[in-house]
Amino acid sequence: MQVKEALDKYGRTPDKLIGAMLAYQKSTLCNYLTEDDIKEFAKETKLPVSRVYSIASFYSLLSTEERGENIVQVCYDVPCYINDSVNIVNELEKILEIKMGQTTKDGLFTIEYSSCLGCCDKAPAMQIGATLYGNLTPDKISSILSTYRRKKDE
């Protein structure tokens, strides 16, 4: 998807900007907005670059830094925290050999802390793309991640 395509679909008024940026970002392989992307959004919407950048850097679902194909969002708020989400984080870091906030060398995964995912009844929880995983234990992590590896291979 091109920046123009996203704006054609969502509209070029300021109220459509965040939706268009989210959709465009999702279509990029590295899940982020480059400086050139931001300049193009500004040009197309006739908004100052600073305004578009201020939005891209304010919201946590938008990123101005290169990320992986799959963003693993791990909830770290109190209901998950007291249900040992720290063990989930440790397991993810161990299997993927990266630290929180980093991207794997193959560009397949980025792990991030997320604000409450609204899945506290199945704590601890994490979300990858549109899929929510609840009632997690460290031994479930490996097989969840491998489904994304397989998708990549197919």
Binding site: I55, F58, L61, I82, G118, D121
Partner: protein, 425 residues
């Protein structure tokens, strides 16, 4: 008392009974009957029913819904807007997600009735970006409502036009604050603003705007169907209707439960949640979410009743109940809560932005056992300042849990004060 007696299913009555994908099943279960009934009468009459019902906002602040509707109806300036706040980001809450995923048309019907009452032609459902499944379900339900003539021009041949669209948030807790939500829709950074004026007179694009929580709107069709008088018989004198509670933490049966207002927190934990795993003791319960107060075990008999709770400076907020057993380290939990607010602060006002940074520094001093009694005094003054001087609810409520710990578990802090305290010569 059994479960059945303390659960009262009104908003959740159709959950898992109907298929959320099917508008026909919704209609065959009494769906859109309230809209037809409402449209046969006037906006004033609808608002009067909501006032009689005594419904208060379910997002946490508890403002009387009927008064809000009336002030939008009377406000000057066109066009007017209606917004459903589905930016549910308060840790410990998941009720709005379930309401959207399991019975989307109930919400849509509630919004249309309110729009008709205040003669509003355009609306938004602001759903947080993380709720991808809810966004897809609501999107499909809105389209079904259009095809069936409940949205669009000349709804049910009444001459009334109304449509709404979904606005997807991009990951920011503060957008649940109404002004931050409004400026986000306008395509800006979500930052709070001083009030008044309130959105009811000066909201989206400076026009009169009604903003309500998902659960609040979901109550509207039931009020219209049963009548305000009948609805007001549910609950207590000061808190009418049912409340969705989100039970989480160290609990055998976590989940979403609908109870009549006036039910005690202990009954919810013991009878619905089946208590704490391995029969451990409860150390602390947080109400409402990260911004809510904490209470010790010996206060669990308090009832979900705004008047009774306000006597001891408590609120039930949006209905989250987070149970924590005796294994938790209270200061560690407070640090997690303050880290959350520190991340989510929009940074606009000094008391919130700087206050949260300083709170983390002070909390670490207690956790590391190097705090002095001066640190405790500074922490208390700092929290009072944040509470009084922050622009919006985020900064005002961020210290609540810590303040309540100092009220009910003061020794958690005092026991960590260094013995060679400068004040102890």
């Amino acid at each position: 008392m059994s479960n059945i007696e303390i659960t009262k299913k009104i908003l959740t009555a159709r959950f898992d009974v109907i298929n959320h994908d099917s508008i026909d099943e919704y209609i065959s279960h009494n769906g859109y009957t309230a809209l037809k009934k409402a449209m046969a009468t006037t906006g004033e009459k609808i608002i009067s029913e909501v006032k009689t019902a005594g419904l208060k906002g379910r997002g946490g602040a508890g403002f009387p819904t009927g008064l809000k509707m009336e002030s939008v109806l009377q406000a000057e300036g066109l066009p007017k807007y209606i917004i459903c706040n589905a930016d549910e980001g308060e840790p410990g809450n998941f009720k709005d997600r379930y309401l959207m995923e399991k019975d989307p048309h109930q919400l849509i019907e509630g919004i249309i009735i309110c729009a008709y009452a205040a003669n509003i032609n355009h609306g938004y459902i602001f759903i947080r970006g993380e709720y991808i499944n809810a966004i897809n379900i609501m999107d499909k339900a809105l389209e079904q409502a259009r095809v069936n003539g409940y949205l669009g021009d000349n709804i049910l041949d009444s001459g009334f036009n109304f449509d709404m669209e979904i606005y997807t948030g991009a990951g920011s807790y503060i957008c649940g604050e109404e002004f931050a939500l409004l400026v986000t829709i306008e395509g800006k950074q979500g930052r709070a603003t001083y009030k008044p004026p309130f959105p009811t007179t000066c909201g989206l694009y400076n026009k009169p705007t009604q903003i309500n929580n998902v659960e609040t709107f979901c109550n509207i069709p039931h009020i219209i169907n049963m009548g305000g008088e009948e609805f007001s018989k549910i609950g207590t004198d000061s808190s009418k209707g049912t409340k969705l509670v989100c039970l989480s933490g160290n609990i055998v049966n976590p989940g979403l439960y609908e109870v009549e207002l006036g039910t005690s927190i202990r009954d919810i934990i013991d009878k619905l949640g089946k208590g704490v795993p391995n029969n451990r003791a409860i150390k602390m319960v947080q109400l409402g979410g990260a911004s809510g107060p904490v209470i010790p075990e010996n206060m669990l008999d308090i009832k979900l009743d705004s008047k009774e709770m306000s006597k001891i400076d408590l609120t039930y907020g949006s209905g989250a109940i987070i149970v924590m057993d005796d294994r938790i380290d209270i200061l560690d939990i407070l640090k997690r809560i303050i880290e959350f607010f520190h991340h989510e602060s929009c940074g606009k006002c000094t008391p919130c932005r700087e206050g949260l940074t300083q709170m983390l520094i002070l909390l670490d001093r207690f956790i590391d056992g190097v705090a002095t009694s001066d640190d405790l005094a500074i922490l208390e003054i700092l929290m009072e300042t944040m509470n009084q001087a922050s622009i919006c609810g985020l900064g005002q409520a961020a210290p609540t849990a810590t303040q309540k710990v100092l009220e009910y578990f003061r020794e958690e802090f005092t026991s960590k004060i260094r013995s060679t305290d400068s004040n102890v010569v």
